[in-house]
Amino acid sequence: MPLSNRHLLGMKDVPKEDIQLILDTATTFREVLERPIKKVPTLQGKSIVNLFYENSTRTRISFELAEKRLSADSINFSVSGSSVSKGETLKDTVKNIEAMKVDMIVVRHAAAGVPLMLTKISDANVINAGDGIHEHPTQALLDMYSIREKLGKLEGLKVCIVGDVAHSRVALSNIYGLKTMGAKVSVCGPSTMIPRYLDELGVDVIHNIDEAIQENDVLNVLRIQLERKAREYFPSIREYSQYFGIDRNRLEKNGKDILILHPGPINRGVEISSEIADGSSQIILQQVTNGVAVRMAVLYLLGTLN
């Protein structure tokens, strides 16, 4: 059974069967990653461009590794800043890449909607590796994979997304994906960091982290983007970590062992303490490994579709 769409632009409208297929396929690739020789010939002869308009070492390396392990020819095309400052329009850049006969484009861009734009300019399969504060579907897939791996299921689980939801591309993708899979999703953070109207998505909004810990099976803790203007949305890092940060004391106080995910990179001591980040029961580094497997699954399923 193939995927129902030839692009992965976001988790919105991705049906349950597709998510299931990606996660199941990722399981087989996860096993490949444990082998001495971690390479399969599945995408031999396919060329993939990693078009990164925004610095993201982790996501790019994860995709690049996934591509290499599938034996695809991958090219990195990194542009810092927007197409505007570069002088060439995005459209021209993509048309140029297209003329080199590429099969797939993995795109990361600071502006929302760019992956959709690419599908209108190019015939390649487009994978969204993060667009503005819109979506980051492979992150949501690897989060779901990690939860499923640890807790055995997604359906019926209660998952809370914690932190700067308003400026997160991870949050929206997680909300869509988890809800499709039958999980109950809530968000927890300072009210200035929760977008208005989010409740219209059927998501509970709370502002008390202790309540979030008590009520949920999983916390997906977002990174506070200290380098961005997120800083204007709360009084101080100290206050944030006191009221929304997660450390051992807080978990013990609530008498609860809870699965904690973090998309990285972590601000240690801000949204999550070092103890928790490094704790053996936590899966933050496993998420990184799973990320490669999930991206292999997405690339494989889309790359063998045509």
Binding site: K12, V84, H109, I133
Partner: protein, 430 residues
């Protein structure tokens, strides 16, 4: 040359004129005779059969960006006027956010000179402050003498309450309005309206309260200064309600709305098409419904296009980076008739008031009269003509419109002004 308009319906709410199937003889740019014409009068005349069409005072668009001087690659005075004539307008007011801004008599004179021989009358709006920076009042008296009909820092609101106060007080001496782009600058800078859609699309939001705050400020200040303020491109529900209440109190506030703000909602942004990016942004159904109510009850005085030409390259950018604005001169009449007349929000008289009479009243411009001996300044409208928008046929230099290929009902057949006629895509002297 003699021109006869045959069997045309005359409609001018300003004269309480509403007559069916009349013949009109035009000679030397003036109404020579209105009524039954003799054989002698018809002799050698060019005759246009206009059964079912309406002769109305030439339409007027009080919010146009001509881009000259500064961005002549996007629009010039002449191409903008051509677009206006093609869209059914015989007069336009052009906004001062050119480069340099219209903050000196020289720039006013340049624009007047460029448009002097054109069919379309061009009335510049002067900047309210020097370089539209919101710091020093522009030379309003000098600008008025050069021919401006209002003052605005359009693109932004007048920066501070103190300079707004002085601008209103000073402009009151000339009985000219301050025309405001209402947006709180500290809440500005987003890419679309704040709603569930901005969250779902991941686009930085502009909340409606950014508009409402300045509308409130401006109404209070207009009341305080006993001066005229005109709210440009009103787009939010609360702003419409505030203008309605202010008018009841007798405050000198007027308002305009663009066709895109009464036709589209922010659902249109789901395509990420930069041609639906404008400021103020497209808002929600509730806002559009209040706008329609405001048009109906007279809260909103007029319809204006906010015609904002942008080059193709600029409008092909990423949505967040693309500039705001769309062109509108050539789709305005069609959209107004389709969305307001055909859907019975406004009757024909009300529509002509909002497209021709009220904008002139706001700017103190005399209203063309349909009367023997008067100079001819008219638009011929066909409310039932069904047509498809084709941006390749636009006279504007730019094509940034979200309405290409849209089916519309109602259009301009032609216009006459200053001894010239524009009909069937061509200008001719009459």
């Amino acid at each position: 040359m003699k021109l006869v308009l045959k069997n045309v319906n005359l409609l001018n709410p300003d004269q309480k004129l509403n007559e069916k199937d009349v013949d009109v003889l035009i000679e030397d740019g003036k109404y020579k005779k209105i009524g039954k014409l003799t054989e002698a009068e018809l002799k050698d005349a060019k005759v246009l059969e206009l059964k079912g069409k309406y002769l109305v005072p030439g339409l007027f668009d009080m919010h146009v960006h001509l881009r000259e001087p500064g961005r002549e690659d996007e629009e010039t005075v002449i191409t903008g006027c051509n677009a206006a004539a093609n869209g059914g307008f015989t007069g336009i007011a052009c906004m001062p956010n050119t480069e340099p801004a219209i903050d000196s008599a020289e720039v006013v004179t340049l624009i007047k000179k460029q448009s002097a021989k054109h069919l379309v009358d061009v009335y510049p709006i002067g900047a309210a402050t020097v370089e539209r920076k919101g710091e020093i009042l522009s030379p309003m008296a000098e600008l008025k003498d050069a021919g401006v009909v209002g003052f605005s820092d359009d693109g932004v609101a007048i920066k501070t309450a103190s300079i707004l106060k002085r601008a209103l007080e000073y402009a009151r001496m000339f009985d000219l309005p301050i025309i405001e782009h209402c947006e709180d600058e500290t809440l500005a800078g987003g890419a679309m309206n704040e709603s569930i859609n901005s969250t779902l699309l991941g686009l930085p939001p502009i909340p409606a309260i950014a508009e409402d705050l300045i509308v409130m400020r401006d109404i209070l200040m207009a009341e305080y200064a006993n001066a005229k303020v005109h709210i440009s491109h009103i787009s939010s529900k609360k702003s419409v309600q505030m203008v309605r209440d202010a008018k009841k109190k007798g405050i000198k506030v007027t308002a305009e709305v663009t066709p895109h703000h009464f036709t589209l909602t922010d659902d249109a942004v789901k395509t990420y098409d930069p041609n639906v990016k404008m400021n103020p942004p497209l808002r929600t159904r509730a806002d559009v419904d209040e706008i329609l109510a405001g048009l109906k009850d007279g809260t909103i005085d007029c319809i204006a296009s906010d015609h904002a030409p942008h080059s193709l390259e600029e409008k092909e950018m990423e949505f967040e980076y693309a500039p705001n604005g769309i062109i509108g001169l050539e789709t305005q009449v069609g959209l107004a008739f389709t969305e307001l007349f055909q859907k019975k929000i406004l009757n024909l008289e009300q529509l002509i008031e909002k497209l021709s009479i009220n904008p002139r009243k706001i700017l103190n411009i005399s209203i063309p009269q349909v009367k023997e001996g008067e100079p001819v300044n008219l638009t011929i409208l066909d409310p039932d003509a069904i047509w498809t928008v084709d941006k390749t046929k636009f006279k504007s230099k730019s094509v940034n419109t979200p309405f290409d290929k849209r089916l519309l009902t109602g259009k301009s057949v032609g216009v006459i002004n200053k001894n010239q006629m524009f009909i069937d895509g061509k200008f001719e002297r009459i």
